[in-house]
């Protein structure tokens, strides 16, 4: 369990139904994460957090600053560009995938559609955590 402002995982997704299951799964796996609802909140959190997260999970379709815009901003900022960013989206469109890879995303993960896949995906996120 991470302390506030010391979260190892930062997840940005405006979809509360998704977050509901992610939070449940991460908790079941014994982990916590910082949940924000758009790209602006990602940047705000990074500016004020005590330690930077080990991995950032970005949904693509978000209000204010969407996933790709956030990704671009992060990759241009020397303080954050080293943090692996995983794109986490409903879209499994290869063009989208291609674009995110070009912009520097570490990986592109399709949002799971089964309980089993949710657990597997969360384990994958957790695997980025470094002590």
């Amino acid at each position: 369990m991470s302390n506030p402002d010391h979260y190892k995982i930062l997840i940005a997704d405006d979809d509360k139904e998704d977050l509901f299951l992610i939070e449940e799964a991460l908790t079941d796996l014994g982990h916590g994460a910082k949940y924000v609802f758009n790209g602006i909140e990602v940047l705000e959190y990074l500016e004020q957090c005590a330690t930077l997260p080990c991995v950032i999970i970005l949904d693509l379709n978000m209000p204010k600053l969407n996933g790709t815009e956030t990704l671009q901003t992060l990759k241009k900022d020397a303080r954050f560009e080293h943090i692996p960013v995983l794109i986490y989206s409903t879209s499994i469109n290869p063009f989208e995938k291609e674009k995110c890879a070009r912009l520097g995303a570490k990986d592109y993960v399709a949002k799971p559609i089964t309980h089993h896949a949710i657990l597997t995906t969360m384990e994958y996120f957790i695997s980025f955590i470094k002590d």
Binding site: L21, T90, I92, P94, F95, I113, I118
Partner: protein
């Protein structure tokens, strides 16, 4: 020399006339009776000699005023032919005259007799002029003289006419146009030299052929109508345009043909005067202008059509874009709630199954399956609309790598179905990697999917390079399809097989066709039921 009277010498009657005239003139000149007779006798003698020698002599009576103060009556005989021969008559005349001369010239001979006029110093020109009037006004001396006078007048008129006609011909021949006259039988009566030199045809041959040897065949009907109209009464000049053959160039040149009627006192048409003027240059300019006008009209029509077409294309593009944007947005936004349905039903079935009875689990499973199908459908619509909107990223692409990736993507199915995929060495082409990957994935997955029951799929991939183009053939040994469905398979939502037996939603090949079209290629297939299918994909090796 002042001429007062003249007598042509042809016969005995003229001799009498000559004698009479000489008498009258001598009387007018104030000669004594004796001198009158002497003068008349001398004139008679030379006249007789002239009549006997030839009959074209001419006697001229007049006053010789060459010696200023002294004036003489003179009688001169002019005749053509040989020199005068001294004969008795001439010798007699010579004795009687005060002066006698003979002049021989190339034209003929002139014999002159001069008789002194007494008191001639006082003789004035008006007096001599009055003698002339006397002779003109004098009534004919005899019926013979009357006839002779009329004859002379006629000859004068005739000679004037001849002179005028010759002037007229010279004039018309010097004109740069053809002037001709036609009689009422439409025959050329007169034409200036222009017509024969221009056409190289004689007037006779033009008349014989009724102008057919000169007028262009296409214009002849019109021209011949003009001639026919000329037979009926027309008061104004009638005009047409017609082509006439020029002998020198063997070409037909445009001419203006005009006919004007010439009428007598009773307004009857006697004949026609016509002219032909070369208007070829004007005609060519006119035709060129006309052609230019037609051309520019056509051009503006063409431009308008082009504009309309461009507008149609723009409108079509706009509505196409709108439609594909709609498809994208609709399918994209549908994905999200659908995924939740699948996910939450899965949670119920797989996480909370122990809290549900068996029937409820079945219901949920069915719901879950249906949701999955809907998901595939939405994904395909999305993918189709994305292909449509995608910007092509052309780069060298090794098709061997693409095929290996497809095989890797379907590894599980290939293993399960014991499929055998053989492939030739494929070329490197200029193409969009993700689209081409999708293309081959779709074709290969179809070949794997539509296999015959209990028959392991055999898929062979071959390539043939031809004219900067590669044709890739992908053949399978699957269920195939009737060739009459060939057109259908590449269109949206066309399924040839039931959903229960084969999954899919009829978008795969439509997407393939779209991808191939984006690469300026083509796709077609050959198949027979239970004999497998072969897909032919033609792609340019160097695109763009």
């Amino acid at each position: 020399m002042l001429e007062i009277a003249r007598v042509t010498l042809q016969n005995e009657m003229d001799l009498i006339l000559a004698n009479k005239r000489a008498m009258v003139l001598a009387e007018l000149a104030g000669f004594s009776i004796g001198s009158q007779t002497t003068f008349a006798t001398a004139v008679s003698e030379v006249s007789r000699s002239a009549i006997e020698r030839c009959n074209d002599g001419c006697l001229t009576l007049g006053v010789n005023d060459e010696r200023k103060r002294d004036k003489y009556l003179f009688a001169a005989i002019k005749e053509s032919g040989p020199r005068f021969i001294e004969n008795e008559n001439i010798a007699n005349a010579q004795r009687l005259a005060d002066k006698f001369t003979i002049v021989n010239t190339a034209d003929g001979n002139t014999l002159s007799l001069d008789f002194f006029i007494p008191g001639s110093a006082k003789l004035t020109a008006p007096v001599i002029e009055s003698w002339k009037t006397h002779f003109i006004n004098e009534p004919p001396f005899s019926p013979y003289e009357e006839i002779k006078r009329k004859n002379e007048q006629l000859q004068l008129v005739a000679s004037k006419l001849l002179e005028s006609e010759s002037q007229y011909k010279t004039l018309t021949n010097s004109l740069p146009i053809n002037i001709f006259s036609l009689n009422l039988q439409q025959e050329i009566v007169y034409a200036n030299e222009w017509l024969t030199s221009y056409s190289g045809c004689t007037i006779e041959s033009i008349n014989r052929s009724k102008w057919q040897n000169v007028i262009h065949p296409d214009d002849y009907k019109n021209f011949s109508n003009l001639l026919k109209r000329a037979t009926v009464s027309e008061s104004t000049p009638i005009k047409i345009q017609s082509r006439l053959k020029q002998f020198a160039s063997d070409k037909y040149l445009w001419h203006l043909v005009s006919l004007s009627p010439i009428k007598d006192d009773k307004q009857n048409i006697v004949y026609w005067i016509g002219f032909l003027v070369d208007i070829n240059a004007e005609k060519i300019v006119e035709e060129t202008l006309q052609e230019n006008r037609i051309l520019s009209e056509k051009q503006s029509q063409f431009r308008q059509k082009e504009k309309d077409l461009q507008e149609d294309i723009t409108e079509l593009n706009r509505s196409n874009t709108e439609l594909s944007q709609f498809a994208y947005i609709a399918s994209h936004d549908l994905q999200e709630p659908l995924r939740k349905m699948i996910l939450y039903s899965d949670y119920l079935v797989n996480k909370n199954a122990d809290k549900l009875d068996a029937r409820s689990v079945d219901y949920l499973k069915n719901m879950n399956h249906a949701s999955y199908r809907m998901r595939t459908l939405i994904e395909d619509i999305l993918s189709f609309s994305q292909v449509n909107n995608k910007e092509l990223l052309l780069q060298p692409l090794d098709l061997n790598v693409v095929i290996q990736q497809s095989i890797a993507d379907y590894e599980m199915v290939i293993t399960e179905s014991k499929a055998i995929i053989s492939t030739e060495v494929l070329p490197i082409i200029q193409a969009d990697p993700s689209l081409i990957q999708q293309l081959f994935n779709n074709i290969i997955s179809n070949a794997l999917k539509y296999s015959r029951e209990a028959v392991p799929p055999i898929i062979s991939i071959n390539a043939k390079n031809e004219n900067d183009e590669v044709t890739i053939t992908i053949s399978d040994n699957g269920i195939g399809f009737e060739e009459k469905y060939l057109d259908k398979i590449f269109t949206l939502f066309q399924r040839l097989h039931g959903k229960q037996a084969y999954s899919g939603n009829g978008l795969g090949l439509a997407i393939c066709r779209k991808i191939v079209q984006l690469h300026n290629g083509s796709i077609y297939a050959k198949s027979a039921v239970n004999e497998g299918s072969t897909f032919f994909i033609k792609l340019p090796i160097k695109n763009g």
